[in-house]
């Protein structure tokens, strides 16, 4: 094998700090790859402090009866058997998933957005619902996070892609506090 010429790199005064800048970008890229590989986004919800996969949170929502039909999300993703009522192209999902597994977007009293399923099917919600705006308290069991999702907040509104990932979970033990 022919001997390889040893090149002694003689950096100048501007090259040295620039080399550190290049190193910073390379480190940033490496960290980004590691974060992606470690699937950080599956274990940490972005909207709320302390919400992460596998935890149960007590949440408080204010709703109106019509929210059952008004609130909807659109995505092709399925998380632990839960999915949106619409696909990514905003077409109703076929076959229609059962109520307990349909995700809907909710905004809790702290103004945090989440995707929950099972609220309207919960025993505490089966009777006649108030005609005015009412408060519901539920347990949210977080099963994952979705980033590629669009939400709709009005019956004939359009689906807007969310800018952040949203926690996904089942809403259980919902009650209307007296």
């Amino acid at each position: 094998m022919a001997p390889v010429e040893v090149v002694r790199y003689l950096p100048n005064e501007v090259d040295v700090p620039l080399r550190a800048l290049l190193a910073l970008f390379l480190i940033g890229f490496g960290v980004w790859v590691i974060f992606a590989w470690a699937r950080y986004d599956k274990n940490a919800a972005q909207t709320e402090q302390g919400w992460h996969k596998g935890t149960r949170q007590l949440i408080e929502l204010t709703l109106v009866r019509e929210d059952h039909d008004r609130l909807a999300c659109a995505s092709d993703l399925t998380v632990e058997g839960l999915n949106c009522g619409y696909d990514a192209a905003s077409r109703p999902r076929v076959p229609t998933p059962d109520e307990a597994h349909v995700l809907r977007p909710y905004c809790n009293v702290k103004n945090e957005v989440l995707l929950g399923a099972g609220l309207w099917d919960s025993p505490g919600m089966r009777g006649a619902l108030p005609t005015e705006r009412f408060t519901v308290v539920c347990n949210l069991d977080i099963v994952g996070v979705i980033k590629s999702v669009s939400t709709r907040w009005e019956l004939n509104g359009k689906f807007d892609p969310t800018k952040q990932s949203l926690p996904v979970g089942t809403l259980t033990d919902c009650v209307i506090p007296q």
Partner: protein
């Protein structure tokens, strides 16, 4: 230069570097090779400790609530109401932009700069002591020290500030003309835009340039660019947050913040500690502290005792030497000065060690002068970086004479790092284990 030429140049440089590494390995004695393996383990372990589960806990910890929402504000285009310069929060907003408004996003910049600090320590050690071995030692010591590890795992600014200060010193050591001084001043301005205390880097940077004698004296006037850089960064920040972007508004903002800090210095804090306790890590802060049932997850800022005790002993020994030579009998004032000079410019002290000591002292001195009730151990982090660079050079020098002693020293440093890793890197621990690791009660939360 085409991209092909740049790639070829990088490939040649990488190949050449690899050849130097293999040549150094081949010419090293078995003891030196064992030391190299230990240093390598420190670096690899240090990187892993910095990265592992950095997003835990997923909520704010320690002072993060002061910074993270304000970093988010830059993305929302609303006011930053924090009382520090804006750049750290702007860095953080880049992390949030990449990963979302979550703990991975807001801790991303601290991690990147934390890893960069190791590389800068290598370059600086090599530049000061003119041997790659000193650089390797310095990088490994920074890698295996809890002070640096904990600040790489949290959305706080001191780790980033330290990295920028090292970067600035690298530019200062490399400066040969006014261009190098300008780059150094730009980096000093950027560091000062993270935290005001960064401005003190101008002293060791200027001293280094003068002592190395590579730049003309008048070119140091370029350091006047430091406040200009900070003003430019701040005006950009104000623009991003849709605030008035004229100099008068900026002046009022800065004036109010200065008054606020002066007022803050009169208040007290339970975590307060005096500057003279910092080099002995009397009261390190636990900056990430989570409890889940019976389990504790800590990121303590206590440094590696093997390293900081070695630094402290060297400082004490140097001080005793200076006093002894100054007060020794025989000769007049000239003879005494000659003896002092012999000690300071001779081995193991010498010019590089003196320059790094100047950096260590320049970044510590302001806190010893101000002596307020509102000072904390983490103010020592930039100063400590200089101490570890100095230690790297001293140990590399010692290795030529006493390779086995250095092997024992480095091995001890590695063992202590492994021992303390659980309380630096947030391992799941029970309270009795935590208390066993954090031996002095003042180290505990």
């Amino acid at each position: 230069m085409t991209s092909l030429a740049v790639t070829a140049r990088f490939a040649r440089a990488a190949r050449s570097a690899w050849q130097r590494v293999t040549a150094a390995w081949a010419s090293a004695s078995p003891t030196e090779r064992a030391t190299t393996v230990f240093l390598g383990l420190m670096i690899v372990g240090g990187i892993l400790l910095r990265i592992r589960a950095i997003w835990y806990p997923p909520e704010f910890t320690f002072d993060e609530p002061f910074f993270v929402p304000n970093a988010h504000n830059y993305l929302l285009g609303i006011k930053d109401s924090n009382d520090h310069p804006p750049l750290f929060k702007m860095f953080m907003s880049v992390g949030i932009l990449l990963f979302g408004y979550n703990s991975a996003g807001w801790r991303f910049p601290a991690l990147c700069f934390g890893i960069l600090s190791m590389l800068l320590a290598y370059w600086l050690g090599r530049a000061y002591f003119r041997t790659a071995r000193a650089g390797l030692m310095a990088a490994a010591f920074v890698a295996a020290d809890g002070f640096f590890i904990s600040y790489s795992r949290v959305g706080l600014m001191d780790g980033i500030l330290t990295s920028l200060l090292l970067w600035c010193m690298l530019a200062a050591v490399s400066a040969r003309t006014w261009r190098g001084v300008l780059v150094t001043a730009l980096l000093a301005g950027i560091a000062t835009s993270v935290k005001w205390s960064g401005v003190f880097i101008v002293i060791p940077a200027a001293v280094t340039m003068l002592v190395l004698g590579r730049v003309r004296f008048w070119s140091l006037l370029i350091f006047a660019a430091v406040p200009v850089v900070q003003a430019a960064v701040w005006l950009l920040a104000l623009r991003l947050s849709h605030e008035p972007t004229n100099l008068a508004s900026l002046w009022h903002l800065v004036k109010d913040l200065v008054l606020h800090h002066v007022e803050l210095n009169r208040s007290t804090n339970p975590l307060n500690s005096s500057w003279y306790t910092w080099p002995i890590f009397y009261r390190p802060v636990i900056i990430k502290n989570t409890t889940h049932g019976v389990f504790r997850f800590y990121a303590s800022t206590v440094g590696n005792p093997v390293f900081w005790i070695a630094v402290d002993l060297f400082l004490v020994w140097s001080f005793i030497q200076l006093v002894a030579r100054a007060t020794a009998w025989g000769g007049g004032i000239r003879a005494r000065l000659a003896r002092l000079k012999d000690f300071l410019v001779g081995k193991p002290v010498g010019k590089p060690t003196l320059l790094l000591l100047a950096g260590w002292a320049a970044l510590l001195a302001p806190w010893s002068i101000v002596r307020n009730k509102f000072s904390f151990t983490h103010y020592y982090l930039p100063s400590y970086a200089f101490a570890l660079l100095m230690l790297g050079g001293l140990v590399a020098h010692a290795e030529r004479k006493w390779p086995r002693a250095v092997l024992v020293f480095v091995g001890l440093g590695l063992m202590v790092a492994i021992y303390l890793a659980p309380i630096w890197g947030e391992f799941s621990l029970r309270e009795h284990t935590v208390n066993r690791l954090l031996i002095p009660p003042t180290w505990r939360p």
